[in-house]
């Protein structure tokens, strides 16, 4: 005996009804999604439009602030500052390279013995700050010239001193000569407290306070 709750017969449901319900649900779902998508895109469009408006407004506000800040810049003040900076920079560079030939003359008069006399002297500074010395003169004797040459060599600031064209006079024994040399750039470097005292004291025949030219 079967229990009474179990049906005694089986009546199958129509398969077409079940399939129709499934088709209807899919279409509705897709349709619903399409509407949702439209709503989202619409909202997005409104959002983009609003964001663009806000950004444009923000840009205009910033432009106005920038215009105000730009107008507050005084070009004359800027120009003055730039000019002052250039003047200070250029002045610093010029004072660094400033030359003082008086240092050379102060040294020269201590190195040259009175028995050596220059008839001409030429100092030329080139753009690399090298100074060429050319001169010609007459020494009382060959020894006097030798003392001058030794003085240049010992001091070291009048470099590569060469005495060409040495001619000894048969009349009085005097010696005429020429001189070419290069000066140490430090010798002609300007300093408000520059001292041109010789590096070393040398034995001389006699030093003059003013060179005989």
């Amino acid at each position: 005996m079967l229990p009474p709750s179990i049906p005694t017969s089986f009546v199958p449901r129509s398969a077409g009804v079940a399939r129709r319900r499934f088709d209807f649900d899919l279409t509705s779902s897709l349709g619903f999604l399409a509407y949702i998508l439209l709503a989202v895109v619409f909202a997005l469009a409104i959002g983009v439009f609003s964001y663009e408006s806000i950004l444009t407004n923000n840009k205009n506000v910033k432009q106005a602030t920038l215009d105000k800040a730009t107008a507050a810049i005084d070009s004359a003040t800027v120009k003055n500052f730039v000019r002052l900076r250039n003047r200070l920079d250029a002045g610093y560079s010029l004072i660094e390279n400033h030359v003082a030939f008086s240092n050379f003359f102060a040294l020269f008069e201590t190195l040259i013995p009175v028995t050596v006399r220059f008839t001409s002297l030429h100092l030329a500074l080139n753009d690399t700050k090298a100074v060429r010395l050319d001169g010609s003169g007459v020494a009382k004797s060959f020894n006097a010239l030798a003392v001058a040459s030794a003085a240049f060599a010992a001091d070291g600031r009048i470099k590569d001193a060469i005495f060409p064209n040495i001619v000894v006079s048969s009349k009085d024994g005097s010696v005429s000569f020429a001189l070419t040399a290069m000066l140490d750039p430090k010798l002609i470097a300007f300093s408000p407290t520059a001292s041109a005292a010789p590096v070393s004291k040398l034995p001389q025949e006699s030093a003059s306070t003013t060179p005989t030219l």
Binding site: T27, L30, G31, F32, L33, A34, Y35, L37, L38, V40, V41, F42, L44, A45, V48, Y51, E52, L55, T56, N58, K59, K62, T65, L66, A69, A72, I73, T77, V78, F81, V82, R83, L84, R85, N86, R87, D89, A90, G91, L94, H98, V99, F101, S102, F105, A106, R117, F118, T119, S120, L121, H122, L123, A124, L125, F190, P192, T210, T212, L213
Partner: protein
């Protein structure tokens, strides 16, 4: 039944149309451009603010410099060549030193070219060489000590002057002939 299928398709098409015709181009076009413009303006505003602070700091620094020193700096490297005024000063210095100037001339025009190019309207860069120079040649007659005094005066001149060349020709009388080239500078 048909409308229930057509309307969602139409909604989908409208959504796609709105997205591809308005949303996407607006976002990648004008919105991006405005955002970058705002960024640029913010940077410019920051620069303007930094400029204002720097200007105030520079004004404060400049106010600490003695105005007399500023005048001396302007005289040290003047704004113009003014070689005529300089010749008058040199003549006065020579007279005080005991030298007699006989001839003064402008020998070379050695305008210093800028070391870096700047675009039109732009502020000059720091490395730009802003000085120009010319050489004055002068002849003088006087004693050796007068030359020393004159040279010392030139070297310590309020306006920077570089002696580039000196020629001394001796004589038996103790009066010498001097020829010099003096370079003078000015701010361009």
């Amino acid at each position: 039944m048909i409308s229930s299928r057509i309307l969602p398709i139409f909604a989908l098409l409208v959504a796609a149309g709105i997205f591809f015709i308005y949303v996407s181009p607006t976002w990648s076009g004008p919105v991006t451009e405005i955002k970058s413009a705002i960024d640029a303006k913010e940077k410019a505003l920051a620069a303007a603010d930094a400029y204002k602070k720097q200007q105030n700091a520079l004004i404060a620094d400049r106010n600490t410099i003695d105005p007399e020193d500023l005048t001396r700096i302007a005289a040290f490297l003047p704004d113009s060549v003014d070689n005529v005024g300089l010749i008058l000063d040199l003549n006065a210095l020579a007279a005080r030193s005991g030298l007699s100037l006989s001839n003064i001339d402008v020998t070379t025009n050695s305008v210093v070219t800028p070391t870096s190019r700047s675009t039109a309207g732009a502020l000059p860069s720091k490395n730009t060489n802003m000085t120009s120079s010319i050489d004055l040649s002068l002849s003088a007659v006087g004693t050796y000590s007068a030359l020393q005094t004159f040279l010392s005066g030139v070297e310590k001149s309020a306006r920077i002057l570089d002696v580039r060349d000196i020629q001394v020709k001796g004589s038996d009388t103790g009066v010498y002939t001097f020829q010099m080239k003096i370079r003078l500078f000015w701010l361009r």
